[in-house]
Amino acid sequence: MTGKIIELNGLTKKYGDFTAVDHLDLLVGKGEVFGLLGPNGAGKSTTILMLLGLTEPTEGSVKVCGIDPVNRPAEVKKKVGYLPEDVGFYEKYSGLENLVFTGRLNGLPESQARKKALELIEKTGLAEQASKKAGLYSRGMRQRLGLADVLIKEPEVIILDEPILGIDPYGVREFLEMIVKLSKEEGLTVLFSSHHLYQVQQVCDRVGLFVGGKLLAEGDINTLSRKLFGNSPFAVEVGVPGNAERDPAIHAGFIETLMSVKGVLKIKEKNHKMLIECVQDVTPDISRTIIQAGFELTYLTKKEYGLDDIYYRYFEGGTDHD
C-alpha cells in the first residue's frame, strides 16, 4: 500500500493469558498526526513497543515504512524516532552532550552531530540550558530535550508515548504546538499516545480509541462520534421542571409527544433533565413541541459529542450505552 507509513494487521500481543493487544488493524498515512487514545493499560505502550521491534507480536504483522520491525529492528529504528514515556538522560552530561551522543549513535560524525544538536536545541527553546547538566532539567525541559533527541536522527516517523504527562498546561500547549509545527514543516508522521483527551483533540488529524487492547474506533473527531454513537450523533438536553412527579399517564403522553418529533430516537431521563438523542439537529422542533404541549421549558442545550463524551461514555461508564 502506498503512502502508508504504519501498517498493522491483526496485531496481537499476549502475556500468558492476558491479551494486551487484541487483533489490531491500523493504517497511518504519511504526514498524519495520529493520536492513540485510551485509559492506562489499554495496550497503547505495548503497541508502540511492537512498532519499534522492542517486543515481538504474538500474532499478526507490523510494517513501519515498509519494514518489518520484528526481523529488521535496527533499520526501523533508523527511520523512527521514539520518545519513551518519562524519558531520561545521562544526568552527568549536559543536554547538548546527551544529544551529541544520540547523534553519534545514529552514525553522525561528532562535528555534524554537535552542529545539529545545537540547531535542535535552538528549535526546542532550550538554548539557555544547553550546557546545563541534564540531571538539573525540569520535567518539561526533559520532554523538550527528548523531542530534540528524537529529531536528531532525522526520522520519518516520530512516536511519542504519553509525551505530555506531567507537564503544566502551558507547557503542554507549547509542546504540542511544536509537534504540529514540526510535522507540517518537515512532513513528519507523528503517532502519539495519551489519555489526555482535550490536547489530543486539538492536534491530531485522526484519533484511535483504545480499550482493552482493541481499537474501538478510529477517525477524526466527527467520524469518531458518528461511529461510536451510531445513528444518533446529536443529543439535546432539556429541563422540564416537575415533569417526573406528574401523573404517570401525562408523563407517558409527554414522552410520546416528544418521540413523535421527526428524528428523535431515544429519550433518557435523569434528575429532572431529559436527554433526547436524535438523528439530526432537531432542537427547534423539540422546543416547539414542549411549549405547545403546555410544559415549561427551563433549560435546553445542544450536546455535541466531543472526545470527552466519547471517553467518558466508553471508559468510565464501560460499554453501557443503552
Binding site: 505502550s45 513497543l49 519499534l52 522492542l54 517486543t55 535496527a74 533499520e75 529504528k77 533508523k78 523512527v80 524516532g81 521514539y82 519513551p84 514515556e85 518519562d86 524519558v87 531520561g88 538522560f89 545521562y90 544526568e91 552527568k92 549536559s94 547538548l96 551522543f101 544520540t102 553519534r104 549513535l105 545514529n106 552514525g107 553522525l108 560524525p109 561528532e110 562535528s111 555534524q112 554537535r114 545545537l118 540547531e119 536545541i121 535552538e122 538554548a127 544547553a130 550546557s131 527528548g146 533527541d149 536522527k153 508515548d161
Partner: protein, 351 residues
C-alpha cells in the same frame, strides 16, 4: 540563531582545562570529529568516560593505590631480609616485591585477591538497572543499534578501565621497585608479572560479570550491590569455615593414622575449597609469582624424595595453574551468559 549557537559553543569551551585540552588536542580532535565512529565504540567510550569520572571509581582506585603503595613499602623494607644466599628462588628477587610482607601489611597479591572482587562488584552492580531506572535504557534501545551492543559495551568498557588500571598499578610497582632496589626484572620475571596482571584482570572480570548479572536480575542497584558483596563475603569468610566444618564432620578418627586416608581428605578439602574463586586466584597467582611452588596439592614424601629444590620454569608454572585459569574464565563466561540472555529477552518499558 547563529549568535546563540556561538554563545553556547563559547560557554562550553570555558574553563582552564577545557582551553588547555583544546590547545593540546585540537588537531587530533578536528580529525576525529569529522569521522564516523561505530556506534559500539561510541557507547564503549561513554561507559569508560562515565566510570573514570565517577566518584566511586576515584574512591576504589584510591583504596587500591594506597594499599599497593603500603604493600610495596613493606616489601621494599623487608626485601633485604627476604633474600638468602642459598635461596632456590634467589634469582627471582624482583617477584618478591609482589609477594613478601613482614606481617604488618599483607602483600600485593593478597591485597589484589581481597580488593579485586570489591572493584568488580563496585563497577558493575548498577550497570543495567541504573540505566533502566534513569529512563535512558529505553531511549538507548530506540536507537538503531543492536540490543547486545549495550551490555557488550558495558563489559568491554569496564574491562578496559580495569585492565588499564591493573597494568598501570603493576608497572608502577615495577618501576618503583627498579628505582628503589636497583635490580631490573629478568625477562621471565617480567613475563610472570604480566601474566599475573592478566590473571588479576580475569579475576576481576569474574566478579564484574557476576555483578552485571545481578544488575540485570535486580531492579534496585542497592540490592545488586548487596547481593554481590554478600557473595564475596561468603566466599572469603564463611566458605572456609563451612569447608572445615564438613571436613570435621566426615573425617573418621579411626583412620587418621592412615596416610592415604589423610591424602584423600586433604584432596577433598582442596577440591571443596577450589569452588571459591578467591582460592583459585590466590593459588594461581602464588604459583605465578613464586616459582618455587611445585604443586598445588598434597605431596607425599616419596614424591618429594630426590627432587632438587629449584624454581619451576614459566611453562611448568603456567601448566600447573591452567585448570585454575580455565575455571575462572569459564565462570566469567557463565556469568556473562546469565546476564546476557535475560537482558536480550526482556521487554524493556520506560522506567
Amino acid at each position: 540563531m547563529t549568535d546563540t549557537v556561538e554563545q553556547i559553543q563559547a560557554s562550553h569551551g570555558k574553563g582552564m582545562t577545557g582551553r588547555l585540552r583544546f590547545v593540546l588536542f585540537s588537531g587530533v580532535r578536528k580529525k576525529r570529529e569529522n569521522h564516523v565512529v561505530h556506534p559500539f565504540r561510541v557507547i564503549v567510550e561513554r561507559e569508560i568516560g562515565d566510570q573514570i569520572r565517577s566518584w566511586r571509581f576515584i574512591i576504589l582506585i584510591l583504596i587500591i593505590a594506597l594499599t599497593t603503595l603500603g604493600s610495596l613499602y613493606t616489601a621494599l623494607t623487608n626485601i633485604s631480609e627476604a633474600i638468602k644466599p642459598d635461596d632456590p628462588a634467589g634469582s627471582f628477587i624482583f617477584l618478591k616485591l609482589f609477594t613478601i610482607s613482614d606481617g604488618t601489611l599483607p602483600s600485593f597479591i593478597v591485597f589484589i585477591s581481597f580488593l579485586g572482587p570489591l572493584l568488580g562488584i563496585g563497577l558493575g552492580f548498577d550497570a543495567v538497572n541504573s540505566e533502566h531506572n534513569n529512563g535512558t535504557l529505553s531511549r538507548l534501545l530506540a536507537q538503531p543499534i543492536h540490543r547486545d551492543y549495550i551490555i557488550n559495551a558495558k563489559f568491554v568498557g569496564y574491562l578496559t578501565v580495569i585492565s588499564e588500571m591493573f597494568f598501570a598499578l603493576g608497572f608502577l610497582v615495577m618501576g618503583i621497585g627498579i628505582i628503589a632496589t636497583g635490580i631490573a626484572p629478568s625477562p621471565e620475571e617480567f613475563l610472570r608479572i604480566v601474566l599475573f596482571l592478566l590473571l588479576s584482570i580475569i579475576y576481576v572480570a569474574f566478579w564484574l560479570n557476576m555483578s552485571i548479572w545481578f544488575s540485570v536480575r535486580f531492579r534496585q542497584p542497592a540490592t545488586a550491590a548487596l547481593t554481590g558483596i554478600s557473595v564475596w563475603i561468603f566466599f572469603t569468610v564463611f566458605y572456609p569455615l563451612i569447608v572445615s566444618l564438613i571436613m570435621k564432620g566426615i573425617s573418621n578418627p579411626a583412620w587418621v593414622s592412615n596416610p592415604s586416608y589423610q591424602i584423600l581428605l586433604e584432596k577433598l578439602k582442596l577440591g571443596l575449597m577450589r569452588f571459591a574463586p578467591n582460592v583459585l586466584f590466590s593459588e594461581a597467582t602464588g604459583t605465578l609469582l613464586m616459582p618455587t611452588v611445585r604443586s598445588l596439592g598434597p605431596l607425599t614424601m616419596e614424591q618429594i624424595a630426590g627432587t632438587v629444590p629449584g624454581p619451576l620454569p614459566l611453562g611448568q608454572s603456567v601448566l600447573l595453574i591452567w585448570p585454575h585459569v580455565t575455571a575462572l574464565i569459564s565462570g566469567t563466561v557463565l556469568f556473562f551468559v546469565l546476564a546476557y540472555v535475560p537482558f536480550m529477552r526482556r521487554e524493556i518499558r520506560s522506567r
